[in-house]
């Protein structure tokens, strides 16, 4: 159910990269508003600035102009990020020294001590993504699709209001990628988590409630 004040808002986002004397304006006055529980896909060509936009929305980078606000507050610092956001990346980014369960609980550990209830929640999330019998396996013992499912479970561990997924199927085969996107949409729907999905794949983009395309530094709706 999509309703309520926007959970993620970007206004007039501008980002420019400089390389020597050359200047490249990647984002030009981007406006984006995501409602609670909404799923938004962002498509665009390689190098169009999709990941840059995602990093700005996550507060990992600062825009040259404009602002990002989370649940109405423009305070996008690390201390809030752990609770407010979950992120899924193309390269999974699991900690190789930790088991699947430890990778998922790591998200909770970043914001405070891990209780027994949180360990149970992590185990339940892994079961929900189909990895109930792989909790003690380290990433090296998991396939690409399994690793990405662990990453999805980790991203949802702290009950974030927004989940940002940066080409989560980029390193997966088509079938596995379809399954991961289905999982993302399903889990976000169950938990009323807003989803911003950056993807090259039109079929994946079509599954979200709203589609936008990044072209020439600006967002345009896709019908």
């Amino acid at each position: 159910m999509i309703s309520g004040d926007p959970v993620l808002t970007a206004k007039g986002l501008t980002k420019t990269f400089r390389s020597g004397e050359r200047t490249l304006e990647v984002l030009r006055g981007i406006d984006l508003s995501v409602a609670p529980g909404e799923s938004v896909s962002i498509t665009g060509e390689s190098g169009s600035g999709k990941s840059t936009l995602l990093h700005l929305l996550a507060g990992l980078d600062q825009p040259d102009a404009g602002e990002v606000s989370w649940a109405g507050a423009a305070d996008t610092v690390a201390a809030r990020r752990g609770r407010f956001l979950g992120m899924v990346f193309q390269s999974f980014y699991l900690m190789p020294e930790l088991t699947a369960l430890e990778n998922v609980t790591m998200a909770a550990r970043m914001i405070g001590p891990v209780s027994g209830a949180e360990r149970e929640r992590a185990a339940a999330l892994l079961a929900r993504v189909g990895l109930a019998d792989r909790t003690d396996h380290v990433p090296a013992q998991l396939s690409g699709g399994e690793r990405q499912r662990v990453a999805v479970a980790r991203a949802l561990m702290n009950r974030p209001q927004v989940l940002l997924a940066d080409e989560p199927t980029g390193n997966l085969d088509e079938r596995t990628g379809d399954a991961v996107v289905e999982l993302l949409l399903s889990l976000c729907g169950e938990t009323d988590t807003a989803l911003v999905l950056v993807t090259h794949n039109p079929s994946h983009a079509a599954k979200t409630t709203r589609r936008v395309a990044l072209h020439a530094g600006q967002l345009q709706p896709v019908t």
């Binding site: 990941s51 990093h55 996550a58 990992l60 980078d61 690390a78 201390a79 809030r80 990020r81 752990g82 609770r83 956001l85 992120m87 990346f89 390269s91 980014y93 900690m95 190789p96 020294e97 930790l98 088991t99 430890e102 790591m106 998200a107 550990r109 970043m110 914001i111 001590p113 003690d136 396996h137 380290v138 013992q141």
Partner: protein
């Protein structure tokens, strides 16, 4: 447990593996440095302690000497014995003589001792290997073991002693026959310098050989355990001018300050040089952690994406260095103490293997390797090892904290 410490422990002891190779090598480096430092400093400490014990056992806690000889020894003995903290006083006279056996000469330092009082101050009986102190009389002599060996003298043999007084008389065309003394004992202190150059006679014989009359050259004093020899010597120097003008008291530390300084300097130099082993180990740890920062760049970016602050990312690497330092130090202390416990067995095995058993006994001061680990030395080694190892994490931590999460996530 903060996540930075948790992750540091996980990176050192990954799930699914018993021990990371990097962790094992890093800890081993620190362990070996600490163990080597403990063994070396303890052996040096043991040597120093033995030397100090021998000095006290042969000179007493405080010595009173005069530039000339002291001709009222009994009065001074009584005065000194009355002083607080003084438990024993024994007079002595000393000088160099020529000693000859079977036409083989030697020039030892002859010490005249008061047989009735010497054991109150110097435990000579503990060092006499052949014969007893009771056998020493005006016609006999106790030789040091090395001197006896070098001259080929045995218990019961007779040696000839020529004193400088005899040489003076010879200038006046007077002929004096050497004094013949029976060897009534052989002692061994365990220190080469003392065992090769000291001979004991009664005080009366020494006074006669040097024409001292009833005079002596000084007094050795024994103090109550725990009293400060320097303080007692200072107090005595306030009293001595009244009974023995020209005489002065010195503690055993003061009398041997140059020698003790050299002993301490050697120990400090060993400590300083061996400390560099730990510094090298710490550089190895730093190098490994710097490589880890590069290898884990994307994970560091992820930590930022998950809400981790740069400070906590840096702490993660600091914790790793600290854990390596603490682990290596604990293991190093265990290894060092174990080696010290079995040091004599190890040396016995080594000398048997190389056939150098006798050489070790002859040319080193001790046949068993002494060792003493002072709490102060141990504390210094442990704290410096941990501090140096922990500092190895600072530069990698700084580098990790400088990483921009966005660039880290993008890195290949």
């Amino acid at each position: 447990m903060p996540w930075s410490l948790y992750l540091a422990l996980k990176q050192l002891f990954p799930s699914g593996r018993r021990l990371s190779f990097f962790t094992a090598i890093s800890v081993a480096g620190v362990m070996l440095g600490v163990a080597l430092l403990i063994v070396s400093v303890s052996v040096m400490g043991g040597f120093g302690r033995e030397i100090r014990r021998m000095i006290i056992d042969t000179q007493g806690d405080v010595q009173v000497r005069s530039g000339a000889f002291i001709d009222n020894p009994e009065e001074i003995v009584a005065t000194l014995a009355d002083q607080p903290d003084v438990t024993g006083v024994t007079p002595f006279a000393e000088g160099v003589v020529m000693l000859q056996y079977d036409y083989k000469p030697a020039f030892p330092a002859l010490q005249g001792i008061d047989v009735d009082r010497v054991n109150d101050v110097i435990p000579l009986n503990d060092y006499i290997r052949v014969g007893t102190l009771d056998d020493l009389d005006d016609d006999s002599v106790i030789l040091s073991a090395q001197l006896a060996r070098s001259l080929g003298v045995h218990y019961g043999d007779t040696v000839e002693v020529y004193s400088p007084l005899m040489l003076e008389l010879m200038k006046n065309d007077e002929v004096m026959l050497p004094t013949e003394l029976r060897v009534s004992g052989i002692f061994e202190i365990g220190h080469q310098a003392l065992d090769s150059s000291v001979v004991l006679v009664t005080l009366r014989r020494m006074q006669e050989l040097y024409g001292l009359g009833g005079g002596v050259h000084g007094f050795n004093l024994k103090l109550t355990p725990g009293s400060d020899p320097d303080r007692v010597a200072r107090r005595l120097n306030g009293v001595l001018p009244d009974v023995a003008p020209g005489a002065f008291a010195r503690s055993w530390m003061d009398a041997n300050s140059d020698f003790l300084f050299v002993v301490q300097l050697e120990k400090n130099m060993i400590f300083f040089l061996l400390m560099f082993i730990i510094v090298v180990a710490a550089f190895s740890v730093m190098s490994s952690l710097l490589i880890s920062v590069v290898r884990k760049t994307r994970e560091i970016g992820l930590l930022g994406a998950m809400g981790g602050r740069a400070r906590d990312v840096a702490l993660c690497f600091c914790y790793q260095a600290l854990v390596i330092g603490v682990g290596g130090t604990v293991l190093g202390v265990g290894l060092g103490m174990t080696v010290l416990h079995f040091r004599n067995d190890l040396i016995a095995g080594f000398t048997r293997l190389t056939g150098s058993e006798e050489a070790l006994r002859r040319f080193y001061e001790f046949s068993n390797l002494p060792a003493y680990t002072s709490p102060g030395d141990l504390t210094l080694i442990v704290s410096m090892a941990i501090i140096v190892s922990a500092l190895a994490g600072v530069i990698p931590a700084w580098r990790a904290a400088q990483l921009n999460p966005v660039e880290a996530l993008r890195s290949e």
